[in-house]
Symmetry: C2
Subunit: 541 residues, 2 copies
């Protein structure tokens, strides 16, 4: 059975859990029928065009020859269908051809693409990042030059952060930018792990590149962002950026992960000098949310495949779905997906509503919980298949391999935990989290004792994180993020049930409350573990 | 850094935790120096010969051409070194060239091979299964014919259970055996997922095959076990068993997973008619323990690689091992490995001691906990590496791919949970588990309150499992197995600390108690969830 967009679950998560229609006043032209039509159209593209290329793309991978990267067979036709459908334009500014729809709706659409073909979906995801960066930080002439073609999908975009000597530590990057007489900069350096950094699906690629202007301060305060088009704007000539390597990866084989060599490439400063990191973070926040969605998307695909297998495979005379342990696995998959989906959508709705504090607070949860769910659920998907799960032909294995990147890129999940603690919690001394906890407590009321207990735990844990020594708080940050994710997921499922109660969603919530929320005490133990407990002779120099 | 056998950890787990020297009277010739020399010799073979072939074997895989399977480059030389070292003979009967050493020691030796090269180690693991089956069920002439050459490693062995239409459901198998005039049987049918079912490393392969004698009862009571040598004993002619396919798998690429076609192959009944399943279970129990060990082995390899990476990789000016969240991941890996290792060794020591009840009880724990740890720890290993973890060159990805099979084969972990509940717990109405709980309670004494609470939980959960309706118990069986594993792991670590206390092992125990044992309440919630909670509209026909 191929992937089919789970429209009912998506709509419940978006409209009931994430309170999508709180945006009605901001988007007066949008109605239920339009929303349904958009999701169904996306689901059709995902199920009929992208999903059939998932396994063949995994097998074919990409090829690099003399700097030219060739995508897997069928990807050009799929990209054309995506582009012609106007899917890149959903949430973009109408001034540049966008449709001005909510980002939360665009995110739900992206979910279906992530489910159907994670490798493919990375291309529009990165382009979206470039669009947002230019929308928010570009000068008027830069917007005029690039936005329309990015929004239409004619051109694609990339993010260039990582360098060989500097992984997550952007302050250590050394790519340099030398001012030229015409106002441009000559960019020189090497960038690694550039997703869709080079390919043949679009006639131009717009690279957004972090580099250091000659004489800029050391560290992260001396980093600027540049636009480096693959083909120069002035004369259409090939710019001095070359793909010199493509990684051999465990998964997402159809998505080229490039090493790009910049050799005096023409770049244009975007935003202010030495403020590149701030600009990149705007872009990265959206990307983080989208990566969380990606985790949910691949999890959904794995769930559907496992469910179909369990309903057709006989064992001991009965379908394996009759076995309680198989049902346990499937129910775990179902509940975790639905909670993580609600978190991702709610983060985007907060952004659409202009609730920056909530958006910022939820973004690390969406990224880390969504991608952890991706890994866990795809692993359960393999397990449900038994031996066939380990054989590539079955498809479950690919989901497992593909999903494993998501907790790593756009800031590892460990970095998300540090972000939640350092920037989000300490940043406002717990104010935004306090608002969230108050909302959760109100949601709990007197009808949800298990949830109320988890909210109490989150409150206690928050007080601990705010008062603990930094090293101790960091030792507990991951478990804190997990507890917060458990609570927010349950809160959204309960709120969803209050807005639109169905027996099915109520069953999912009950399972979630009885299993996942029961982990609050052990999360607390891990939160309060303290740095001193993380000591081993093995760790010594 | 290549793999180095963790001799200190292994000896602590074997001698202190698993009480290896309780076997002293049974093995009077064995002393500490011999034990150390054997482990160090195994570690040398593993680290110097097998580990260097792990990545190249993954890349090269195996080839099948006209029925001939060719192993990856270097594997012949490695197998020769293994054979010449006499490693297959460790625990075998001295009457057939074995060294008559404890199976627990042989298991510890196997751990190092699993760590170094999971694909390679499967070959001696399967041969070991064949040796044990023939030792326990073979007639005198069968022993004379096969054992010496299997024990020396000259020939290898296989287990043939699964058929395309019958995965874990052995009662459904259809391979048939027709009696011949000379007392042999003509075996006809197809077997799938046969590990090292065909290869070029040994001149003969001894297949142990489940099949149904013409006219035998239906279901599992009509299954017999046969010895089918690749080359016939009588005249050395090629037997009618052919490899007609090799699976394309997610991992263990260097180990051929074969589809074998039996076309009237000459086979010899081993053990009694229609009692093949019982014979196969003897063999499978040993194999299950070894697969648990395999999970621990690949986890250890992943831990060592992640630890080395964390100690050399700088991020933000500091080594990443200085980051509390990285230490949290490494400490989690370290503690889970050590507990699961102790469980596996203790299972083997129970077998060596002749404590069948304890061996039977612990076998599903060793298999499921060891392999779950394999998946979890290799995933953390990828995460510690960041982006490099997803790139195949780094090696962490291979461990993650390889490890994923272990919770599936030799009975999925879900089947282990059913085994623990159905055969082990119901089988003696909780007697063996009661003995274990009493020992755990004594171990807890008054010094280990967290452990005592977990023991209480296990006791309560055991009472529940014994009294619950079957479907409800099955719904909670997996969590029950996990809780039992947590408790047994902690018990063995505490007992180990009492026999040989070091600051390092005490730190591991403290971490284990404060994090893993803290999960007992949520395990309990999952145990008592009940079958009715596992209901979704999605699951309906």
């Amino acid at each position: 059975m191929p992937y089919a967009a789970p429209i009912a679950d998506m709509r419940f998560a978006l409209e009931a859990c994430a309170d999508f229609w709180s945006l009605r006043q901001r988007f007066p032209d949008l109605d239920e029928d339009t929303l349904a039509a958009i999701l169904e159209g996306a689901g059709a593209l995902a199920g009929e065009t992208l999903a059939p290329l998932n396994r063949s793309g995994d097998q074919a991978g990409v090829t690099l020859k003399e700097g030219v990267v060739t995508a897997a067979p069928g990807f050009q036709e799929a990209y054309n269908a995506f582009k012609d459908g106007g899917w890149q334009a959903l949430a973009a500014d109408p001034a540049y051809g966008g449709q001005g729809l909510p980002r939360s709706l665009a995110l739900a659409v992206m979910e279906t693409f992530h489910s159907a073909n994670m490798s493919f979906a990375l291309l529009p995801m990165l382009t979206l990042g470039a669009i947002e960066a230019i929308e928010q930080h570009g000068a008027t002439d830069q917007k005029a030059l690039y936005l329309e073609k990015l929004v239409s999908g004619e051109w694609s975009g990339t993010m260039n952060l990582t360098e060989p000597q500097a992984g997550s530590d952007l302050g250590a990057l050394t790519t340099k930018a030398v001012p030229q007489a015409d106002g441009s900069y000559a960019i020189t350096g090497q960038k690694i792990f550039i997703t869709w950094g080079e390919h043949d699906l679009a006639p131009n690629i717009i690279h957004l590149v972090l580099a250091r202007i000659e004489g800029a301060p050391a560290g992260s305060k001396g980093i600027s962002m540049f636009i480096v088009p693959k083909f120069r704007d002035s004369d259409g000539s090939r710019n001095a950026v070359r793909c010199i390597g493509v990684e051999e990866k465990m998964g997402i084989h159809a998505s080229p992960t490039c090493t790009l060599a910049y050799e005096g490439a023409t770049g244009w400063l975007i935003g202010e000098e030495n403020r590149g990191l701030a600009a990149m973070f705007t872009m990265m926040n959206a990307a983080r949310l989208n990566v969380g969605m990606e985790g949910v998307g691949v999890a959904e695909a794995a769930y559907q495949k496992a469910l179909a297998y369990a309903k057709e495979r006989k064992q001991g005379g009965a379908l394996i779905i009759e076995h309680p342990d198989v049902r346990r696995m499937l129910m775990t998959m179902r509940a975790k997906i639905q909670a993580a989906r609600a978190i991702c959508y709610a983060t985007a709705v907060a952004a659409d509503r202009g609730d920056k504090a909530r958006e910022d607070l939820l973004t690390p949860l969406a990224k880390a919980c969504g991608t952890d769910v991706g890994v866990e659920v795809t692993s359960l998907g393999v397990q449900v298949h038994g031996g066939m799960g380990f054989v590539e032909e079955g498809g479950a294995a690919q989901f497992y391999r593909d999903a494993r990147i998501a907790p790593i890129y756009e800031g590892t999940n460990g970095i998300q935990a540090i972000d939640l603690y350092g920037r989000k919690l300490l940043g406002d001394r717990g104010e935004a989290m306090g608002v969230l906890i108050a909302e959760a407590r109100q949601t709990a009321g007197s009808h949800h004792p298990k949830f109320a207990a988890a909210v109490d735990a989150l409150e206690e844990a928050t007080a601990y994180m705010l008062s603990a020594a930094r090293e101790d708080a960091l030792a507990g940050a991951y478990a804190y993020l997990q507890l917060a994710g458990d609570v927010v997921g349950a809160m959204l499922l309960i709120q969803g049930g209050a807005r639109d109660s169905t027996a099915e969603q109520a069953a999912v919530l009950r399972f979630y409350a009885r299993t996942i929320l029961a982990r609050a005490p052990s999360r607390m133990a891990e939160i309060k573990l303290g740095a001193a407990a993380l000591t081993s002779e093995d760790f010594a120099g």
